[in-house]
Each structure stands twice: as structure tokens, then as C-alpha cells.
């Protein structure tokens, strides 16, 4: 066995894990590692312009492929800049390994230059983290990090490596597998509970299926589609779960929650049996849990994380297990089961809600943001990877781009991090070189990681940026309009840059769109004429367009405000 330095070991471990992209930014504590990166070409390093973007890009790499994303940052500010990215991934259960440099072990605790307690700072927003204190533990620790990140309920793992450890030498041996006595995620669901669930589902008169990001994380879209069609039940996907079931299918009722459809929210509220899969009854999805609990429905909840079950809502049939395995078992039982109840009355009730056509919007002289998303769907054939930032544009993208497939919709659902859109598009573009990638953003969000236009230039990424520019921090402004008597406190952007010139300054193509009739030609220019370029479409939209329907915070799901009640 050959002797290797810690830095060599880090790179060898990444090779062993078949990592082809690392998103990162160099610095003092990781110099040895970057030197080893330089000497090989299996692991490609993508230099970003800010560590936050490195983690977001690694996160998007994972979201769009299911593989573990990898980021590398230096100690101190490198690590603290990465925290937003790590917390974003943690909230959405995205598997990441973040390797951070640390000051030499003998300096730790001495307030050394670029020292911070990375393990302490990241502890509340990681699945697990490690500080490597001996080079002989390094390989096994990295192996554990990949194992923990990608199994059970996935999540980010930080490995903090002091600089002297990267210079120290030892024999390299990459363990074939790891076993942790304290970590044994449950995979198969309890068969008795699954049988109980099937009986409940077959006896339901007003059933409803409600699924979240867990279905996508578990790669169970096929199983979910099969199960839903076998049952013929209505289904809704949360913001994190969009694309798990075809968005254009008749059984699909749209997204539920604060900006969900009437049919999805009313069916969630009025069903007698609710099958919840890989989802966590978030406050943005079910509204007020007390109001939600007033309905005597039976709830079946499938989730790999026991702590998600009965956390916000009491559940009648909990099933702890990997979604894909549990759904396989359910399908197996359903295929031999006898007839289920006739639910045509329930469907006609749902069709009544659907007939309300809550997604309709009025065309105006100004460009309606909803229209832009519909046209984006048309020109991309509904099959692009769409990333978004956070705010009104995020909701419009979720509502009007009908995702038919999983891993096409990348956004920060849990933490709600403005600024993810562009780095997400960068990560997705590396992971999916043959697919169109568009970033739907707003004039507020895009400025939070705008420097990444430089990264996109360096690597020639043909991302299309759809900037729904309303010269407002739109979602906050909407709340101020509805709940603060139109006092627009700090939500007017009165010195936003000329995005066209800005895009050009970074070496990209910028196009400004002011009129509704120019939207489609501009999209064609971006997606056809400039197919291989990054195009920044700065689309001036109706300034005070609002996202509807809306369930105000703390209200119940049936207390929606609709667009036409507000026009």
C-alpha cells in the first residue's frame, strides 16, 4: 500500500465515489487539496464566484440527478459563506458532502487567521458533520459522509479537514462499505400497516393522495403514477413534489397550499381518507393545523423519517419506510385486491371545484407573468429543467409550468432562499448537458447571486434567465398590499441595474422585453437563435400582479382568496 498525503486521500476518495464535479472556491486551508486537484483530471472542479453558490450548484447537481453533490470551501469565511447553501439543502433533504478546510489542528481554538468553529456553526443545519483530527481517519470519514448523506432521509454532511491533516501521510485504503451501530435507516415498511392502509384506501368514498419531495428523492415517480392510476384517485403534489406525477394528467389537481388550486385545497380539506407520501404537512401546505384537524378524515402517512410522522398532524396509519419500497408493496397488494368503492360522486364534486378555473388571469396592456411562464412551457415542450428563486415568480413557475417528470423543477422549498436560481441553473447545466435549463427569477432574487454570471461565462453554460422584473420585491409587496394597507415598506427597488447591459458586461446576451406581443419572439430568440448562449431576458411585467389563489398565513385551506374576488 502506498503512502499518501491527506490532500491526495481527499481526491482519491472523491474518485472512488465517482464524483465528476466539485463546486468550490480555493483558499489558504485547502491549498494542498487544490494542488492535488490540479494534478489529476478525473474530478473536475467548477470555480464559482462565492461559496454560497458552490453549495447551491452542488445541491442542484444532486436535485437534478439523485447523485450526491460535492462542494469544497476554505476555512473561516469560506465555511460561513457556505452555511446558507448547507441550510437550504438540509431543509429540502438534499444529499451533499461539503469538504471545508480548517486551520491546522495545533491552531484550533487560538483565534487563528480564517478560523471559525465550522462544526459548531453548521451543526444545526447538517445531517451530520465531522472534524478530522487524524489523517488515518480521513478516508473512512469521507466514506461515512457519502453514506450518511445519501441513505435514509438524505441531507448534507460537512467534513472539516485541518490543513496539517492534508499534509500528513498515511496508507490509503478506501473502505468498501461502512456500518454505523448508531445509524440504521428503515427501508421496508411494516407489512401489517401497509395492509391496513390498503383496506382504508379501498373503503374510501372521498380519497385524496398528497405527495411531496420524498417521492422524488426516493425515485418513486413511476410507482406513484402506477398506484394513482390503479386507484383512480385524485392527486396533488406539493411545491417540492412537482413532477412526481404528470402535471398534465386529469387525476392531477395542481399544487396544494398557500398558493394551491381550489380543487387541490378543497379536496385536501374535504377528503375522508388522505394518503400522504414523502411529505411533512408543512405550514405552507396545510395552513393552520388546528383548522386542518377539524375534519375527521383518516390519514395514512408514508415517510422514511419517523420524526416527520405525527409532528404537525395526528396520523392514523403511520408507515415508516422508503417511499419506493412501500409503494411497490402497495401496488403488489392492490393488483390482487377486489373492487374498490365507487367514487364518481366525489369526482363530480372535485370537477365542480375545478370548474372554478382558479388559475385564470386577465391579460392587460402590461406583460402578465403567468403568460410568460405558459409561453416558456410551450417553447421548451414542457421538458426543460426549471430553476427558480424565491417569491412571486417562484409560485407562478410552480403554478403555470406543468411538470410531467421528476427532477425538472429545482427550487428552495423549505428554507426559501433567494439567490438559488442562477447557481441551481449552473449545477443543473453541468449535470444535464443535453437538456434545456431555464432560471425563472425576479429583479430582487437575481441580484443575490448575480456574480455567478461570471461562472456561467467561464464554462459556456447556455442557461436562459427569465427575469420577471416588476421593480418590486413582489411577494413582500403583495403581503403589504393585502395585510399592511399598501404601506410598501422597503419593497420598491428604485435603483435596479440595467440587466441587459449587466448581462452584456459579463459577456452574455441580454434582451429587454416590454410588451406582451414581444414575449414569444424574445423566447424564440433565446431558445432558438441563441441556443448555445446564456441569454438574460429582462421581462418588464405588470408591476402589481398578485399570486392567487392565496390562503393567508394561519388560515385554513378552504379560506382561499381568489384572483377574481380581488380584481
Amino acid at each position: 500500500m502506498t503512502m499518501m498525503t491527506g490532500a491526495e486521500i481527499v481526491i482519491r476518495c472523491l474518485q472512488e465515489e465517482k464524483v465528476d464535479y466539485v463546486f468550490g472556491y480555493p483558499g489558504g486551508s485547502v491549498l494542498h487539496i487544490y494542488d492535488e486537484l490540479f494534478k489529476q483530471d478525473k474530478v473536475k472542479h467548477i470555480l464559482v464566484r462565492h461559496e454560497q453558490a458552490a453549495v447551491h450548484a452542488a445541491d442542484a447537481f444532486s436535485r437534478s440527478t439523485q447523485r450526491v453533490g460535492v462542494a469544497m470551501v476554505t476555512s473561516g469565511p469560506g465555511a460561513t459563506n457556505a452555511v446558507t447553501g448547507i441550510a437550504t439543502a438540509y431543509m429540502d433533504s438534499i444529499p451533499l458532502v461539503v469538504i471545508s478546510g480548517q486551520v491546522p489542528t495545533t491552531y484550533i481554538g487560538q483565534d487563528a487567521f480564517q478560523e471559525c468553529d465550522t462544526v459548531g456553526i453548521t451543526r444545526p443545519c447538517v445531517k451530520h458533520n465531522f472534524l478530522v483530527k487524524d489523517v488515518r481517519d480521513l478516508a473512512a470519514t469521507i466514506k461515512k459522509a457519502f453514506y450518511i448523506a445519501s441513505t435514509g432521509r438524505p441531507g448534507p454532511v460537512v467534513v472539516d479537514v485541518p490543513k496539517d491533516i492534508t499534509a500528513a501521510k498515511c496508507k490509503f485504503e478506501y473502505p468498501a462499505e461502512v456500518k454505523l451501530r448508531s445509524y440504521n435507516p428503515v427501508i421496508k415498511g411494516h407489512s401489517g400497516q401497509i395492509k391496513k392502509a390498503i383496506q382504508l384506501l379501498l373503503g374510501a368514498k372521498r380519497p385524496m393522495i398528497y405527495t411531496g419531495g420524498g417521492v422524488i428523492l426516493s425515485n418513486a415517480s413511476e410507482q406513484l403514477t402506477r398506484l394513482t392510476r390503479l386507484l383512480g384517485f385524485p392527486i396533488t403534489n406539493t411545491l417540492m413534489g412537482l413532477g412526481a406525477y404528470p402535471g398534465t394528467d386529469r387525476l392531477f389537481l395542481g399544487m396544494p397550499g398557500m398558493h394551491g388550486t381550489v380543487e387541490a385545497n378543497m379536496a385536501m380539506q374535504n377528503c375522508d381518507v388522505l394518503l400522504a407520501i414523502g411529505t411533512r404537512f408543512d405550514d405552507r401546505v396545510i395552513g393552520n393545523p388546528e383548522n386542518f384537524a377539524t375534519v375527521p378524515r383518516k390519514i395514512i402517512h408514508v415517510d422514511i423519517d419517523p420524526s416527520s410522522i405525527s409532528k404537525r398532524v395526528r396520523v392514523d396509519v403511520p408507515i415508516v419506510g422508503n417511499v419506493q419500497d412501500v409503494l411497490d408493496e402497495m401496488i403488489r397488494l392492490l393488483e390482487v385486491e377486489q373492487d374498490k368503492k365507487d367514487i364518481s360522486d366525489w369526482w363530480s364534486e372535485i370537477e365542480g371545484w375545478r370548474a372554478r378555473q382558479c388559475m385564470n388571469y386577465a391579460m392587460k396592456d402590461a406583460i402578465m407573468p403567468q403568460y410568460v411562464i405558459e409561453q416558456l412551457w410551450e417553447i421548451t415542450g414542457g421538458d426543460a429543467i426549471i430553476t427558480s428563486d424565491v417569491g412571486q415568480h417562484q409560485m407562478w413557475a410552480a403554478q403555470y409550468y406543468k411538470f410531467d417528470k421528476p427532477r425538472r423543477w429545482l427550487n428552495s422549498g423549505g428554507l426559501g432562499t433567494m439567490g438559488v436560481g442562477l447557481p441551481y441553473a449552473i449545477g443543473a447545466a453541468f449535470a444535464n448537458p443535453d437538456r434545456q435549463v431555464a432560471c425563472v427569477t425576479g429583479d430582487g432574487s437575481i441580484q443575490m447571486c448575480i456574480q455567478e454570471l461570471s461562472t456561467a461565462k467561464q464554462f459556456g453554460l447556455p442557461i436562459k434567465i427569465i427575469n420577471l422584473n416588476n421593480r418590486y420585491l413582489g411577494m413582500v409587496r403583495q403581503w403589504q398590499e393585502m395585510f399592511y394597507s399598501r404601506r410598501y415598506s422597503q419593497t420598491y427597488m428604485d435603483s435596479i441595474p440595467d440587466f441587459v447591459k449587466l448581462a452584456e458586461a459579463y459577456g452574455h446576451v441580454g434582451i429587454r422585453v416590454d410588451k406582451p406581443e414581444d414575449v414569444v419572439p424574445a423566447l424564440k430568440k433565446a431558445f432558438i437563435d441563441h441556443k448555445d448562449d446564456l441569454v438574460f431576458l429582462d421581462i418588464r411585467t405588470a408591476r402589481e400582479a398578485n399570486v392567487f389563489p392565496m390562503v393567508a398565513a394561519g388560515k385554513g385551506l378552504s379560506e382561499m382568496v381568489l384572483a377574481d374576488e380581488n380584481l
Binding site: R123, K127, L131, I148, R181, S182, D305, S307, S310
Partner: protein, 163 residues
């Protein structure tokens, strides 16, 4: 409701702060916390006294189990168990109080383990409530200092918390 939660965890740097951090991050309450390595030095045994509704205790147990360093979690108060806490209390012992303190220590089966002309240090073991009673039983003005370990607990009979 008061609960005594026993945790077996990896005896590693940072493991304790993961547990303590979980309680503060999620707003759970810690009344007492004790921790020490077991006969197997790779393991620590931690006892937390907390309180909350059944739902909260269920969440605490589930969240603790999610921590990678946590090997096993048991709510001792769910079944027959023994709890003990150690207190060292330094009291003024002069004049007529000197005899009185000796008598009170005897009644509570405490032991005087340090003696000066003016003070005693009394060692007292028992349930948390027994220690509380002792403090209430003596004159508050005579207490110079108290130090308590927090509750340790173990299940009665065959119930064993082991890897």
C-alpha cells in the same frame, strides 16, 4: 408531565452538544442533564429530565433517535425505574444550628463530609424531590452553597439499556 429520558450515545467530541443543541433548537426544555462514559469507554450514558405533553415527548424521542451519534433512547418514566441525584450542600453550622444541622442530615440519611468551625458540607443522595425537601426543611439563611448532579436513572428488573 415530567419524563426521564436515557440516551446511549457515542463517546465522541461534540456528541453532547448535538443533544443539547437539539433541545434548544426545537424549544424543548431541559430540567437536568447528566452524562458520563459507561463501562464501555466508547459509549456515554446521558440522562435528561424534561417535561412536555405526550406529543412533545414523542417528538423528543424521535428527534434524538435521528442524531447519528445516538445509539438508543429510552423514556425511563414509562415503566418502573429508580432515579437518584447527588447533592453537596454547604451550610453554616454555628451555635445551636450546628446540632440542628447534624440532626437534619441524619433524618435525611445524609452524611457530613467536611467540617470546619463554622460550616458543614453535607452529602445527600436520593430522588430529586427528596433533595428539594431537604432544602425546604432547613433554614434558607443557613445555606451557603448547593451543587447538584442532576438525575441519573435506571430501569427496574430486567429492563436494560445496552447496545
Amino acid at each position: 408531565m415530567r419524563h426521564i429520558i436515557s440516551i446511549l450515545l457515542e463517546n465522541e467530541a461534540g456528541a453532547l452538544s448535538r443533544v443539547a443543541g437539539l433541545f434548544s433548537a426545537r424549544g424543548y426544555n431541559i430540567e437536568t442533564l447528566t452524562v458520563a462514559p459507561t463501562e464501555d469507554m466508547s459509549l456515554s450514558r446521558l440522562t435528561i429530565v424534561t417535561s412536555g405533553s405526550d406529543e412533545i415527548i414523542e417528538q423528543i424521542t424521535k428527534q434524538l433517535n435521528k442524531l447519528i451519534d445516538v445509539i438508543k433512547v429510552v423514556d425511563l418514566s414509562e415503566a418502573a425505574h429508580i432515579e437518584r441525584e447527588l447533592m453537596l450542600i454547604k451550610v453554616r453550622a454555628t451555635g445551636k444550628d450546628r446540632e440542628e444541622m447534624k440532626r437534619m442530615a441524619d433524618i435525611f440519611r445524609g452524611r457530613i463530609i467536611d467540617v470546619t468551625e463554622a460550616t458543614y458540607v453535607i452529602e445527600l443522595t436520593g430522588s430529586g424531590s427528596k433533595l428539594d425537601s431537604f432544602i425546604q426543611a432547613i433554614d434558607a439563611d443557613l445555606i451557603l452553597e448547593t451543587v447538584r448532579t442532576g438525575v441519573s436513572g435506571i430501569g427496574r428488573g430486567d429492563r436494560v439499556l445496552k447496545v
